[in-house]
Symmetry: C2
Subunit: 209 residues, 2 copies
DNA sequence: AAGTATTTTAATCAAATGATTAAATGGAAG
DNA sequence: CTTCCATTTAATCATTTGATTAAAATACTT
């Protein structure tokens, strides 16, 4: 029964090195594919240090996941809830914001989505994000504009147009459809395309009629 | 140096049981997350049999991957290359076909895309799918209709609208945005929505002007 | 400088895991 | 029945891997 370990002063340096390494290796190889030794090596430290700072691989992973989920979803709500912006503004902001984030971390979505799928961690969603989104200004504006469109359907399409290319990136590489170098410029181009296309969808025929 | 193992008659039964089990376990847990013992148990056989029929976990995995890539991409080309159908028809066919396939295997896309990303296998793409697609009837029709739209951009949007919901399904569950039961009916609804929305995109403003 | 606490390491453990081996089982052919 | 061969199994190996331990090194306080 040892007393709780505390890292008071020198804290930041090594601990942050480990987390940074964990971010990198976990993101690239996933939970099951990552060996704690990989992380230690990447951090340039001894393996035992990893278990000294964090009690286990699992704990370290959940820390990283927490961050990644936040990074993937965190910017959405503020935009969704802003009553001062129009629907078009919100869409443009989401597109712009997401493509910027994902251009820096193309693997982020597929990593997070796949790890959630495999249930390799146990993090309880803080707020009921679903409910919060469905009550957001974005959804209300959408329902006013098009009472016939299920907001979830519209949202899935917009997010799909934004996020899917990053998820499909490995396949594009694999099949030579978008070599690494032009991929990012394609994504930049999408910043202008998606808002226009979202607008076209908002003006589309009513399917229910 | 033993002679090559051949399974002449009783072949089908056990071997197929193993492959079926491998499909299931690999798809659910990914390559790194899968233990050969899991597969053996799922197949109701002894672990050694697995290495008797297939030389290794790797070999078995690549067999499954081969199938899954085919399942994910195989139906695309025939539709793309059909000169007899209009652009609208092709889109409707792709939407219909994909949503049907994915409704039965919701995990298929994220599994394939993530394993490709992690390079957990070594399968050379048979045809240069990228080139074939870019020379397909679909792309030609698209370019005739809208010279200003980069076909890859359009394709990514359509596929994103179709595939992304399945990729995001774990997150929707996780956040209570689409409970399991209504998810599939949402996807059925999308069969009608996406073609209309694709059409709206085709009629959208020219961004380059 | 001594003493104390913190940080880091080398060595090792125990469990998990992919793979092999040698033996057994069972059916088909003669 | 017995021989033969494909199939199946139990037992075991060797390596990998997450984790621990005890000691050494370093930093901090007085």
């Amino acid at each position: 029964m040892t007393m709780q370990v505390e890292h008071s002063h020198t804290d930041t340096n090594t601990e942050e090195k480990i987390i940074a390494a964990a971010r990198k290796v976990f993101l690239s190889k996933g939970f099951s594919g990552t060996r704690t030794r990989d992380i230690a090596e990447e951090a340039g430290i001894n393996l035992a240090l990893l278990n000294y700072y964090f009690r286990s691989k699992q704990k370290l992973f959940e820390l990283v996941m927490q961050e990644k989920i936040q990074k993937l979803l965190g910017s959405l709500l503020p935009i969704f809830n802003n009553n001062a912006t129009s629907l078009e503004d919100k869409i443009a902001l989401i597109v712009d914001n997401y493509i910027e984030i994902l251009s820096e971390s193309p693997d982020l979505p597929i990593f997070v989505l796949n790890e959630i799928r495999k249930k390799n961690f146990q993090i309880v969603p803080k707020s009921d994000l679903g409910t919060v989104i469905m009550q957001s200004s974005f959804i209300k504006q959408l329902q006013e504009r098009r009472t016939d469109i299920n907001p979830v359907q519209f949202l899935l399409s917009i997010l799909g147009m934004i996020i899917f290319p990053f998820v499909a990136k490995p396949l594009l590489d694999y099949n030579g459809l978008a070599k690494e170098d032009i991929f990012l410029s394609l994504m930049q181009e999408r910043k202008k395309l998606i808002p226009v296309w979202a607008d076209a969808i908002l003006k589309s025929n009513d399917v229910t009629k």
